[in-house]
């Protein structure tokens, strides 16, 4: 079989897999391939997206079905354990006027060693399981947050690029007095703006860069905060409406200030 034939055969299998039209032996083989080959995974996802359009019906699911799903996920169905939540911090017992000192020794009975050992083992087991579960839950949240952050970053980059391409967009280069630091602001008539830093250094956790709009008379502008940029500014959106003539960046104490007497790190006018 030539390489082209082999590739076509593989594509055929991937398409059939996407429609669940393989027998179990072939399905296992394809799944093994999908674990190793991101290109093959993408192909299956494309086929599934197309198939999903065929399946798309604008009908309502039967009444009552959601109630049953809700019952299942709430863990109230007989025999179904409650879904694990990330633990809330345990309340700290208060000791004070209302507190009572209890003589534990007087209340304690001597437990049988076997019983104690069994309880200890059970507690350790449960703790171990919960620990693993909590770790897994946190891990999945972390991964989803990373995915969401990645999508947000992509969307932000696209929005900034689109804004810069618009005919009505105004762009200003901001520079430090010695010319070594630089940033760029794209500003639209509706007040939408994007700040993109060139080489601003990261700041400590208690510090932040802050963007200020220069408004009004270019010779004697009023300085108004246009947003806090954080301590590691890359690309940041902001919104500010007014007769803006330029922008200034300062370094401030986090989380930012209402007015500043700090020197401008970067400045630029249209």
């Amino acid at each position: 079989m030539s390489e082209m034939d082999a590739r076509e055969e593989l594509e055929n299998l991937l398409a059939a897999y996407a429609l669940d039209a393989l027998d179990s032996a072939e399905r296992v083989e394809v799944e093994d391939l999908l674990n190793r080959d991101p290109q093959a995974r993408r192909a299956v996802e494309r086929y599934r997206e197309t198939a999903a359009l065929l399946a798309f019906a604008g009908t309502d699911a039967p009444p009552g079905l959601w109630d049953r799903i809700e019952t299942r996920i709430s863990g109230t169905e007989d025999g179904h354990p409650p879904t694990l939540r990330l633990p809330e911090p345990a309340p700290i017992p208060q000791v004070g006027a209302a507190g009572k000192v209890v003589d534990l020794a007087a209340r304690r009975t001597r437990p049988a060693r076997g019983w104690l050992a069994a309880v200890a083992a059970a507690v350790l087991t449960v703790t171990g399981i919960l620990g693993v579960q909590v770790w897994r839950q946190q891990d999945r949240i972390d991964r989803l947050e990373r995915q969401a952050a990645s999508l947000r970053a992509d969307a932000l980059r696209r929005a900034a690029t689109d804004a810069a391409r618009r005919a009505e967009a105004r762009t200003v280069e901001l520079r430090s007095p010695d010319g070594r630091l630089a940033a760029r602001v794209v500003y639209l008539p509706d007040g939408t703006g994007f700040f993109r830093s060139g080489n601003l250094l990261p700041l400590g956790p208690q510090r932040t860069y802050q963007l200020w709009a220069l408004v009004g008379d270019p010779q004697r502008p009023t300085v108004i905060s246009a947003g806090v940029l954080g301590n590691r500014p890359g690309l940041a959106p902001f919104h500010f409406t007014g007769p803006v003539v330029g922008f200034v960046v300062t370094e401030e104490a986090a989380p930012g200030v209402v007015s500043s007497s700090n020197p401008a790190l970067l400045a630029g006018t249209f």
Binding site: A15, A16, G58
Partner: protein, 197 residues
């Protein structure tokens, strides 16, 4: 863009994207799962019903699909496709698994025989009620009869390509190839008409 922490209110969930919904589900916001169900539950149920021809079984499948999303939302990767596509893929897969169980297969074949005797069916009929019916119909028109039959039997019938080959009395390789070229043609046509795919 809706920041995560602000999407826990039901009315705002309606504007949330797939990734945000999945994240909220991972945070155990039932409202987020309810929103996913509101958007896609009907389609999942329609697909499961179409395959299984049994409302009770279809409801079980849909229930399983959404409980699975609740328990394992990280299995859905928004970079790799839409939530709808993901949910329908697992709906289809689960329904096909049930179909291929011996008993279910026998019952379905009996029902199929009755159904076909009453109405007959073709792919256009199956997509009559689709939200994107016009686009999908136009795209289906670009397929050859062989491609349409192969996709129909595999996707809506739940048959393997080998079974489809037997039903259509065609070589297995031909059927496999028709499924692939048919899907590619559909995707191309749907993209051209502006529908997703």
């Amino acid at each position: 863009m809706v920041p995560y922490r602000s999407i826990v209110r039901t009315e705002e969930l309606r504007d949330a994207g797939d990734a945000q919904l999945a994240l909220a589900i991972a945070r155990y916001h039932q409202d987020a799962l309810a929103e996913a169900y509101r958007r896609h539950g009907g389609a999942a149920f329609a697909l499961a019903t179409r395959l299984l021809r049994d409302r009770a079984l279809a409801e079980e499948v849909v229930q399983e699909v959404f409980v699975r999303l609740w328990n394992d939302p990280e299995r859905f990767d928004p970079d790799r496709g839409s939530l709808r596509s993901y949910l329908l893929a697992i709906t289809h897969s689960r329904a096909v698994d049930l179909l291929r169980a011996e008993g279910a297969r026998r019952r379905r074949e009996e029902r199929d025989a009755r159904h076909q005797a009453e109405a007959g069916y073709d792919l256009e009929r199956e997509v009559e009620d689709l939200l994107l019916a016009e686009h999908v119909r136009a795209a289906l028109a670009t397929l050859s009869d062989g491609e349409r039959s192969a996709i129909e039997l595999a996707y809506f019938g739940g048959y393997t390509y080998r079974e489809v080959a037997g039903l259509l009395d065609q070589p297995e390789g031909t059927v496999k190839s028709r499924i692939r070229t048919g899907l590619q043609r559909l995707r191309h046509a749907l993209t051209e008409t502006g529908a997703r795919g």
